[in-house]
């Protein structure tokens, strides 16, 4: 048979129903397309905000990676520093006027500058800490170079800004931090190739300073690391034990409900309140040291606790109950079931929650201000009770400073902070992936 097969057509009523559905389809598809567009628009907006933020920070801060230096020829008077046996006498080295030595050598090169005010203006080109830096350098070396040497000395932050194009030459002299005369000197030095921009290693090896060219983030970074160490040490075991208790042992009832509600509330408490609590309890009542990373870590631990508890409970609940049943069915006690089976399986989630909580704590400023970690501290802390500051607080302090050079340094410090945060979050993702494969 060559005739096409005659297929059964639906009856008129069914046909009409299909047509009605078909009519509405266009509208429904359009609605879902619209929703998709809104979603994309929202993501694009969010990403562009992020891009603007990052661009601003990077464009403000990337210049801080370099520092301007100036070459000076000078002779160090060894006889004024050494003992009879040729070693450097620390007392003599400390009392010696290094700044005077450098300034004198520098002035000697501009013999035409004689007026006192002009000489002072000339001195302002050099960093106020140039003498200190030189002393440290000589002391570290242990010997004094003989004869005239050519040294690279840090310039003041104003010269640094000029060299980086962050000081507008066209501005009226009265509104500039460098006079026409000073700019003239600098230009002549540049022409002689005696000014250079080098990698700013001070930024990564020093603590805070009044002079931007001598300030660094190491002190704040170590302070942050110490505080976070204390935070993890306190918050992780407390949070995991709390979560295990609430999930496995707590008898259902009003008390448990009350605890649960309050843990969730704590997660929403503004962090400065934890700072006030730390101030009143840890410093006021227990008399613990002010500005110490130990206390900072304890306050941050309080703040991080609810985050880790909530994450731990969620990941414990995500472990299939069949595993718990299997362990209990074999006669494992609740504790054995939790430790042998549930916690290992929940570990990736707990770890992620912890790292995210710690990352949050790393970026926290307000509670640390309350317990005095906002102080101006020029030493890198060596122990948990040494006065210290933390990275975000350091950024806060610098962004509040008048010097333009601190502004770019605070941007660079933000980049350092962001690098730590991103590293932590990436490691959270990687660890989770690594452990999840086993499961």
């Amino acid at each position: 048979m060559n005739n096409p097969i005659e297929m059964i057509q639906p009856d008129a009523k069914t046909q009409a129903r299909f047509e009605k559905i078909a009519q509405g389809l266009k509208k429904r598809h359009a609605a879902s397309r619209r929703l998709k567009t809104y979603g994309i628009m929202a993501i694009v907006t969010a990403i562009s905000f992020l891009a603007i933020l990052l661009t601003t920070i990077i464009s403000n801060g990337y210049t801080a990676i370099q520092q301007t230096e100036l070459q000076i020829a000078l002779t160090i008077p060894a006889e004024k520093l050494q003992n009879d046996d040729g070693t450097i006498d620390p007392v003599k080295a400390r009392n010696f006027n290094w700044n005077g030595l450098i300034k004198k050598a520098f002035r000697a090169e501009f013999s035409d500058v004689t007026a006192m005010l002009d000489q002072r203006a000339l001195g302002e080109i050099l960093s106020k800490n140039a003498g200190y830096d030189l002393r440290r350098q000589i002391e570290a070396k242990g010997s004094i170079p003989v004869g005239e040497i050519k040294l690279w000395i840090k310039t003041s932050d104003d010269v640094d800004m000029l060299m980086k194009g962050r000081l507008d030459r066209n501005l009226d002299e009265s509104q500039r931090r460098l006079s026409d005369q000073q700019i003239g000197w600098i230009d002549s030095l540049v022409a002689d190739d005696r000014i250079r921009l080098v990698f700013n290693d001070t930024f990564f090896t020093a603590a805070d300073s009044r002079e931007p060219e001598s300030a660094g983030v190491l002190g704040a970074t170590v302070g942050s690391a110490m505080a976070l160490f204390v935070t993890v040490l306190l918050a992780l075991p407390l949070a995991v034990m709390t979560a295990v208790y609430l999930e496995y042992f707590a008898p259902p009832g009003r008390v448990t409900d009350f605890i649960e509600v309050n843990i969730n509330n704590l997660a929403a408490v503004p962090s400065i309140v934890f700072g006030l609590l730390g101030l009143a309890v840890f410093l006021g009542f227990f008399g613990m040291p002010r500005s110490a990373p130990l206390v900072g870590g304890m306050v941050l631990a309080l703040m991080t606790l609810p985050t880790i508890i909530i994450a731990t409970r969620a990941s414990i609940r995500a472990v299939p109950t069949s595993i718990r049943d299997a362990a209990l069915g074999l006669g494992a006690s609740r504790m054995q079931a939790a430790i042998d089976h549930i916690l290992p399986l929940a570990a990736p989630g707990i770890l992620t929650g912890t790292i995210i909580g710690i990352a949050q704590a790393l970026g926290e400023t307000a509670p640390l201000i309350m317990i005095g970690m906002v102080a101006f501290i020029v030493d890198v802390p060596a122990t948990l009770t040494d006065p210290a500051t933390a990275l975000p607080v350091q950024i806060y302090i610098w962004s509040d400073s008048a010097e333009r050079a601190f502004y770019e340094r605070s941007s660079l410090a933000i980049m350092v902070l962001l690098t730590f945060l991103i590293t932590m979050n990436i490691s959270a993702v990687l660890l989770r992936r690594k452990f999840e494969k086993k499961w």
Binding site: D325, A326, L328, G329, L330, G331, D340
Partner: protein, 260 residues
């Protein structure tokens, strides 16, 4: 309602007037039953009839459900299962359980079987533990398949193998009663028949209580069958009698496929 007991075999467990509540809702209603030693007793009935709930009464697994309350007495020898003085940990060492879905620990095959003896401190040495694991896997009919890959992940086994591993894991502790909650419901027919054969073998050593949705399975593996309906034990007797000459209309309707 009277229970029919074949006096040829000794009684292993005696349950009397067991009532189970989930909050306000009553799930089991005055269930009394005598379980014979070294036999297979099947619990059948439509979904929600309380047969799984009843099974979980024997090793107190209902304890983990916060709203669940169990009333009545279940005596196993001189142990009162339901008494607050009875330690569920000890009880579960005496009564093993196999669950509906194979639930091996995400560890190695060896670790799965060794876990029970380890937590109860049953093995004095590594060799003893090795022997126990081998023995249990042999009893569960899995040794031949896994002997050379004990260090492999248990989750890599097939569903049927996983379930036999769970059986091996349960018997490694050395219980004398085995509870099986629909052990074959997640398995294909071939794996199911392997497990059923295994159950018939295990019956030599263990008293087995099995919940099943498959009436054929109940008929094939069990000596005794209990039919549950809406939380009550409707009929209990020798499997061949329950399936061929049910005394109760509901039982007959269920068995012949009219309800359920």
């Amino acid at each position: 309602m009277d229970t029919v007991v074949d006096m040829a075999k000794a009684i292993k467990i005696q349950a009397k007037d067991v009532n189970v509540f989930y909050g306000e809702k009553q799930a089991l209603n005055n269930v009394s039953i005598d379980i014979e030693d070294r036999s297979v007793t099947a619990f059948i009935g439509p979904s929600g009839c309380g047969k799984s709930t009843f099974l979980r009464c024997f090793n107190r697994m209902n304890d983990v459900i916060p709203s669940c309350r169990v009333k009545g007495s279940i005596m196993m020898g001189d142990v009162d299962v339901n008494s607050p003085q009875t330690d569920p940990v000890l009880l579960r060492a005496r009564i093993g359980m196999v669950f509906q879905k194979p639930n091996p620990f995400p560890k190695t095959i060896f670790e799965n079987v060794a876990y029970g003896p380890r937590i109860h401190g049953l093995a004095q040495s590594k060799t003893e533990l090795d022997d126990m694991v081998e023995d249990s896997l042999k009893k569960a009919g899995l040794w031949g398949e896994v002997a050379d890959r004990l260090a492999d992940q248990a989750t890599g086994l097939s569903g049927g193998q996983q379930q036999r591993l769970c059986i091996a894991r349960a018997i490694a502790v050395g219980p004398d009663v085995l509870l099986m909650d629909e052990p074959c419901s997640a398995l294909d027919p071939i794996a199911t028949s392997v497990i059923e054969e295994l159950i018939s073998e295990l019956q030599q050593r263990f008293t087995i209580l099995i919940v099943t949705h498959s009436m054929q399975q109940a008929a094939r593996v069990s000596q005794k069958t209990a039919y549950f309906h809406l939380g009550t034990l409707v009929e209990y007797g020798d499997t061949k009698d329950v399936f061929t000459l049910p005394k109760n209309e509901q039982t007959e309707a269920y068995i012949s496929g009219k309800i359920g």
